[in-house]
Amino acid sequence: MSTVGSRIASFLGSAAARFGKVPWREIREDAFDRAVLVLKAACFVHVVNTYVVGIAFVRGPSMLPTINLTGDVVAVERVSPRRGSLVVGDVVILLSPENPRKTVAKRVLGLEGDAVTFVVDPARGSASQTVVVPEGHVWVQGDNIYSSRDSRQFGPVPYGLIQGRAFCKVWPPEAVGLIGQKL
């Protein structure tokens, strides 16, 4: 019994000695440096994503045939909306004016001051209407006008809601290519 007890005591004593010899300060400093590096990398990723170029997964039927129903991954550049250099025909990613937690992809058909002519309800004939886009707004429409909720329903969209311009498809591999200006 005493040998077992003494063996346990010696084991605990040596474990405590080894615990004391572990270089805790170096480990702490190393962990801190690594955490700061990870934080810096995260900030860099955020800045590049918000100000230079990012990726978005777009799906839904409203931009057929440009963007697939089951979803395409597109590269979105953030420089042109910030500079104000969008043109008619760009596919843009924007916050939905009906629900700011949802982002949608549509094509710009009219900038401020343009007169946009659109078919009001394509399923019911070709009656069209012309609207002048007010100052600071853009008119967006999906490429698939039969099943798209866009400016024909919620009106012209303020320019500040636009998050980026989708200029290139990157996935799936058979769909890779630039997104064109025309339908």
Binding site: V47, N99, P100, E135, G136, P158, Y159, G160
Partner: protein, 209 residues
């Protein structure tokens, strides 16, 4: 002689090369401090941009449309120094949950480069009466109604007189939910802290007496 010359040569060479070495170290030192400075400032800029986009930032508020809440001042140079400085928090942009009476900042629907500060009056689904007219509007989904505190003010600099989307001139403005942040403000003359300081003194004096 022959042993002296090489020594003198070597000495002068040594002097020249040591001065060259010092010069090169100085240049290298300058470049390395410049590089260090560049690295640190780029890192600081990245971190600052991330924090100001996602968590919070500090901005001065100009204009007189929120008069009793923020002191009125104009946006040009001398008036700028009197502006209230506020802390804007961006955590609310995750869920877009606002309450009536929040002071928010947002991008103007008519000019995306300008940011305005107003108070939230009505949320989606509320009914609101357009001031100075007997019209009643229902706020649609995804929109809200903002107003300044000081009432009808149609001066250009305050942008209180922007037309609503239906092109009605009015002193108030219908805002869109874009880039909204809630504002928690600390006034520059530290009024809340003054009040608390006085309360603490009262408490201390009450305890002592």
């Amino acid at each position: 002689m022959s042993s002296n010359e090489p020594k003198s040569l070597r000495l002068s060479e040594a002097r020249r090369s040591s001065s060259e070495i010092k010069c090169r170290k100085l240049i290298m030192g300058k470049w390395s401090t410049m590089w260090l400075f560049t690295k640190k400032s780029v890192t600081g800029a990245l971190i600052g941009l991330t924090i100001s986009d996602r968590y919070g930032l500090i901005v001065p508020v100009t204009g007189s449309s929120m008069h009793p809440t923020f002191s009125a001042c104009d946006a040009r140079f001398p008036g700028y120094l009197k502006a209230d400085v506020v802390l804007v928090e961006k955590f609310c942009l995750e869920k877009y949950k606002f309450s009536h009476g929040d002071v928010i900042t947002f991008k103007s629907p008519t000019d995306h480069k300008k940011t305005f500060v107003k108070r939230l009056i009505a949320l989606p689904g509320d009914w609101v009466q357009v001031p100075e007219s007997s019209e009643i509007l229902k706020i649609p989904e995804g929109h809200c109604w903002v107003e300044g505190s000081s009432g009808f003010d149609s001066r250009e600099g305050d942008s209180c007189d922007l037309a609503t989307p239906t092109n009605k001139p009015s002193g108030k403005k219908e805002g869109y939910r874009e880039n909204f942040t809630t504002l928690i403000y600390f006034v520059t003359d530290y009024l809340p802290f003054q009040v608390r300081f006085i309360q603490l003194l009262n408490l201390l004096s009450a305890l002592c007496i």
